[in-house]
Symmetry: C2
Subunit: 131 residues, 2 copies
Amino acid sequence: MQRFSQQRERIYEAVRTSMEHPTAQMVYDALRPEMPRLSLGTVYRNLHQMAQEGRLRELEGSVARFDAVLPPHAHIRCVRCGQVADLALPYDPALDREAVGGGWAVTGYELVFNGVCPTCGAEQLSENQRV
Amino acid sequence: MQRFSQQRERIYEAVRTSMEHPTAQMVYDALRPEMPRLSLGTVYRNLHQMAQEGRLRELEGSVARFDAVLPPHAHIRCVRCGQVADLALPYDPALDREAVGGGWAVTGYELVFNGVCPTCGAEQLSENQRV
DNA sequence: TAAATAATAGTAATTATTACTAATAAGGAG
DNA sequence: CTCCTTATTAGTAATAATTACTATTATTTA
């Protein structure tokens, strides 16, 4: 049976209160000061467990990121620094229907925009001015 | 200056003639019989280089996959076995406009459906029947 | 053909993630 | 409340994907 765990709740809170769709490492780094005994394996295990339970949402990528906002929504990822942000685009169920075919059972979709975040865009600008 | 390389061309051909959006490892395994001296690092280096040049398209994921079909199009990934297939859904430029805001410079989007491929679907079916 | 240097092969190193095991701590039974 | 069962953890080792490094090879230009 699933038991309560102090660590799991803190990990969940760390994701919930973060705006940056943190990676496992980021969650670990954020909690370490208050929980010096916390183990990185515990963070990974609980993040995946909660994602499987549907308590968190996992975003694939070269490094996995996690999101406590469950209703399906789009994301935008900075091609420079890799940060991810939410987008308020509504989920379009019609798209799922369009994808059906070829014997696949469609369960949903991920819509991820690429772009340059405000921070990286500003850096690039100042680089150009420097030249 | 960029020089011609036998290996790069073979790597490109391997991606182009494959229907399965191969990973670096898959390209390496496919070419190894004909090019026993080929190095995995060479495959990685050239795949990324060609992706940067726009000669290939890179699909992010826990394992990166590559696609020689350049016009933007949607993909579907099997949540069981990880295989990726193309979808003939047209790219919708209107979506890019909807994503603009918050100081981000939007460059495009990736639309990846999740689902169960025919193969994995059939396996699951026979499992159920077995019980 | 020869010199200059991009690209490679082979290997080592790094990063993200998972696996393993003894110790810890939920939480239900008595 | 105390004890027992076992889920969960910390700490560490192992694995997988990817990148870095360096001597050697191969392409290109003079």
